[in-house]
């Protein structure tokens, strides 16, 4: 016998609403037909991580919690971008903005909250936004691209994360805060001041005690004016002064509403068919703005929706962390002693920049504020939640768990092995160490992603990922846990490494065949996977695989760098940074003949001709070719420059001919395609004028020979090189270089430079392959030289003289 399913309508496609649905599906998958209405156009995403997206640490794609397929697979009807505008509690229907009417047996309100917007003039100007959803983040990222100055109003958690993200994106940022110290609701004065000092050092300006009076400007904002007359110029203003539960619907439907929608311990509102969870709900006079309590609400609500009666909501203790990379803050419970009976213990270490405060009441811990060193946060939080009597450890507890439990002999910080099973690891999801260990053992989990999927630990704000990884490592008995490698792109579930293995194992030599074999989900891939596949095939089958120009980014297709106005730049090769009168004359002539607007010396020791029209490219190349110059590949995921210094030929310190060696290296390696760009440098002595120690492959000549350095990067994230080996002759330098490049070509993932590659596989692995294994080194070097036989054709000559790819440089037709 089948009973008709009841209808559940969910208003709000956000974190609390969807968590409730997830919990419900777990315990009672067949009770309801579920329909979800969301005001935002997106599927459910992790709002917490908007801060990481803004800071450029994550992509929008990374923060989706449930893709559309999840809704489909679970039979959930989803309407996005269509808010509910009215509830008819009598008729038991809701009506959406677009006019959809849905009947319900049970209704769940999970409408979250709205950012507070102060009643000051100028709020509606262009360039003013809040920090709540994807739209806001897009506004901010857009502003960071086109504008310079940002003012964030509000020095709380959200405001500071916004300020840091905008700073990371290159804006100059000021924060206006009403109170004298930052994050005053989570931090005491001392910690607030330390935080302000550290952010100030990172270049964020602060206006504390600042009351915003007006936002000025014509259509776009121009400045923020404070009550005391100070005026701060701004192209972007972000309001982050707080949130207010979104209760409009509930109020109109006649439900009891104070600050939030009033709910009982079972999450029911004053209408027994209507439930509310999340930031919109008010439980015993309290509203919440962090996810941990919302997850508990979701569980309780699902329990009652499924027909249960027992489970009741009690608000958990809350702890806060700030998601700014490199700044560690932890706070929970009371910030300061409330009166005579309370006791405070503080520890300030100015040299280390750390600060700790513990608040005690009746021999128990009731509050902790940590700044700089938060390793013991979980332990203190645990003592608080358990209400442990701390009289015995009181003396040493400020120094941390290790110290307290070993009577002062341990070092600070505590290993996960020492933690008790009920230590809470993930504050957001309330997951204890024991739960994690059990899941690992019972389900045979081996990766962080699996632990996340099974226990939810580290699935929300992600701050405890490190701890979870340590627990996993300890359980597996290894030192480190490899990160699960993500799929290449949305066209496939395969990882880069899997694809490369398949190409070799199954001898696949064309892209359509590869996509077919691996079951690509889109007919011809996307802009992420096609260039990668093209490279992998080219690297695997030199001479056999025909390069696919249509799978290359425009620069590599037309062999010049596209500029923002659609013109191109041309950088001819100057071997080891050397040039001659003839070359310079040819360059000068070309500049005049084609009216090239800008000529610039690059940071890579050669000359850049900027603003060349596309149709002029073949002509420019032909003329440069006449003078013996070839492409500098300044556009390529391939060998770029070999920077050199003058060396022993002229320099009074030079130990060897660094310039000559640089030229030899460049002649061996030019034209090579690599996973990402590859740069070299050769310095004649340890003064290192060619900056070899931040190159992908660097050589520093010393009296005793040549130091070979690898994995440096001077770009977005500075990384000094690792020493690979010291060798005695130029020929050995060439052999090591070829072998190293080939190993990188064969093993790194597309768009992974040598620095992150070595960080991932470890320098010891590289040494084992290139230094210790002599035969292996020679083989790698031979493979490199073999592939160079097919790579060292000057692409410019092919196009200028032989008319190759002529269609690239002329319009199909001119009309009108």
């Amino acid at each position: 016998m089948t009973t008709a399913k009841q209808k559940l309508v969910v208003v709000g496609n956000g974190m609390a609403g969807m968590r409730t649905v997830e919990e419900l599906l777990k315990i009672a998958p067949d009770v309801y037909d579920i329909t979800v209405f969301g005001a935002e156009p997106q599927v459910n995403y992790n709002r917490i991580l908007l801060s990481s997206v803004l800071a450029g640490e994550k992509e929008m794609d990374d923060i989706v919690i449930s893709p559309r397929s999840w809704y489909d697979e679970n039979g959930i009807t989803l309407f996005t971008g269509d808010p509910i505008t009215a509830i008819d509690a009598e008729a038991r229907t809701v009506t959406s903005e677009s006019g959809r009417v849905s009947g319900y047996d049970a209704l769940l309100l999970a409408t979250g909250s709205n950012p507070l917007v102060p009643p000051i003039p100028g709020m509606n100007k262009q360039g003013v936004c809040t920090f709540r959803d994807i739209r806001d983040v897009e506004t901010m990222i857009g502003a960071a691209r086109d504008h310079r100055r940002a003012v964030v109003i509000g020095g709380g958690l959200l405001g500071l994360e916004a300020a840091w993200g905008l700073k990371r994106r290159g804006m100059s940022v000021a924060v206006v805060h009403l109170m004298p110290t930052l994050m005053e609701r989570q931090l005491d004065v001392a910690a607030g001041q330390l935080l302000q000092r550290d952010l100030d050092r990172r270049g964020i300006a602060f206006f504390t005690d600042g009351q915003t009076e007006e936002i000025t400007g014509e259509t776009r904002v121009r400045s923020v004016r404070l009550a005391d007359g100070r005026e701060i110029p701004a192209d972007l203003v972000v309001m982050a002064i707080g949130i207010r539960p979104n209760t409009t619907l509930a109020k109109a439907a006649g439900l009891d509403v104070n600050r939030g929608i009033v709910v009982a311990d079972n999450m029911r509102t004053t209408d027994p068919r209507i439930y509310a969870v999340g930031e919109c709900a008010e439980h015993r006079g309290q509203c919440f703005g962090l996810v941990a309590p919302l997850w508990d609400m979701a569980k309780v609500c699902a329990h009652h929706l499924a027909g249960g009666e027992e489970m009741l909501f009690t608000p958990p203790a809350l702890s806060t962390r700030l998601k700014i990379t490199g700044i560690d803050v932890f706070s929970a419970g009371a910030l300061t002693a409330a009166g005579e009976e309370d006791d405070e213990i503080t520890l300030q270490d100015a040299a280390q920049g750390t600060y700790k405060k513990l608040v005690l009441r009746d021999g128990r811990l009731v509050g902790a504020v940590l700044y700089g060193d938060v390793a013991d946060g979980a332990w203190y939080f645990d003592l608080m939640r358990q209400g442990t009597d701390v009289a015995d450890i009181r003396a040493g507890m400020i120094f941390g768990q290790a110290h307290a439990e070993t009577g002062g002999k341990g070092s600070s910080g505590v290993s996960v092995a020492q933690m008790s099973d009920d230590t809470q690891i993930c504050g957001c999801n309330g997951v204890s160490k024991g739960t994690i260990c059990r899941a690992i053992a019972e389900k045979g989990l081996t990766t962080l992603d699996e632990v996340r999927a099974h226990t939810k630990a580290s699935a929300s704000c992600g701050q405890c990922s490190g701890l979870v990884r340590q627990i996993l490592a300890a359980s597996l008995g290894t030192d480190v846990v490899a990160e699960a490698e993500p799929a290449m792109c949305k066209c496939t579930d395969r990882t880069h490494d899997e694809v490369r293995r398949t190409i070799l194992a199954q001898q696949i030599k064309s892209m359509p065949e590869l996509m077919r074999t691996l079951g690509w989900k889109s007919a011809d891939g996307c802009a992420k996977c096609r260039p990668a596949l093209n490279y992998y095939l080219l690297c695997a089958w030199p001479g056999d695989y025909a390069d696919d120009a249509q799978s290359r980014f425009v620069n590599e297709r037309v062999h010049a760098n596209i500029q923002k106005d659609g013109t191109y730049s041309v950088v001819p090769r100057m071997w080891g940074g050397l040039t001659s009168a003839r070359e310079l004359r040819a360059i000068a002539d070309v500049v005049e003949k084609y009216a090239i607007p800008t000529v610039k010396v690059t940071g890579g020791q050669r000359i850049d001709l900027l603003g060349v029209k596309k149709e002029d490219l073949p002509g420019v190349w032909a003329d440069l070719g006449q003078a013996g110059m070839v492409s500098g590949h300044a556009y390529a995921k391939g060998l770029r420059t070999v920077k050199t210094c003058v060396g022993s030929e002229w320099c009074r310190f030079g130990t060897r001919d660094s310039t000559g060696l640089g030229v030899r290296l460049e002649q061996m390696t030019w034209g090579a395609w690599t996973p990402h760009k590859f740069k070299m440098g050769v310095s004649g002595c340890p003064r290192n004028c060619a900056e070899a120690s931040i190159k992908d492959f660097g050589v520093v000549c010393v009296d005793a020979g040549y130091d070979l350095l690898v994995g440096g990067n001077g770009g977005i994230e500075l990384r000094g090189t690792d020493l690979l080996a010291r060798v005695g002759s130029e020929d050995e330098v060439l052999e090591y270089c070829g072998a190293f490049m080939q190993l990188y070509r064969e093993e790194a993932r597309y768009l992974e430079r040598t620095a992150p590659w070595i960080n991932r596989v470890g320098i010891d692995h590289v040494k084992a392959r290139v230094v210790t294994d002599e035969e292996g080194r020679r083989t790698l070097h031979r493979r490199f030289l073999y592939s160079q036989r097919f790579a060292q054709n000057d692409p410019w000559a092919e196009r200028a003289a032989k008319g190759m790819a002529a269609h690239e440089f002329q319009p199909l037709r001119k009309v009108g």
Binding site: P531, V558, G566, H807, L812, K814
Partner: protein, 111 residues
């Protein structure tokens, strides 16, 4: 008013890929998919005017060469989360020849 002009043959465009047509009303990018479907858009990315004709074509989409916005070839709309539209140009293929209609509105549709 319709004003159809022949601009070339399907095989003149790389597959998948794009060629440019210069017109008195500005440049137009003509695209060809792996399935030989032909599309035309004004050659201005809705983001910051990047030349879409230089982008990488995949499915019925092109990725702009300047900052990687993805644009639908059918209607010129940017793929979410980006918002904007590169004005589409009516295009027909008859007997392997491509015709486009110019002389219509050239402003971007919206966005």
């Amino acid at each position: 008013m319709a004003d159809w002009i022949e601009i070339g043959r399907v095989e003149d465009i790389p597959k998948p890929g794009s060629r440019l047509v210069e017109t008195g009303k500005g440049p137009i990018a003509v695209f060809r998919g792996t399935d030989d479907a032909i599309f035309a858009l004004h050659n201005r990315c809705p983001h910051r005017g990047g030349p879409l004709s230089e982008g990488l074509v995949h499915g019925h989409k092109v990725t702009c060469p300047l900052h990687n916005w993805v644009i639908e070839l059918e209607n010129g709309e940017a793929v979410a989360p980006d918002v904007g539209c590169a004005a589409p140009v009516p295009v027909r293929v008859a007997d392997g020849r491509i015709w486009i209609e110019i002389g219509m509105r050239l402003e971007v549709a919206h966005g």
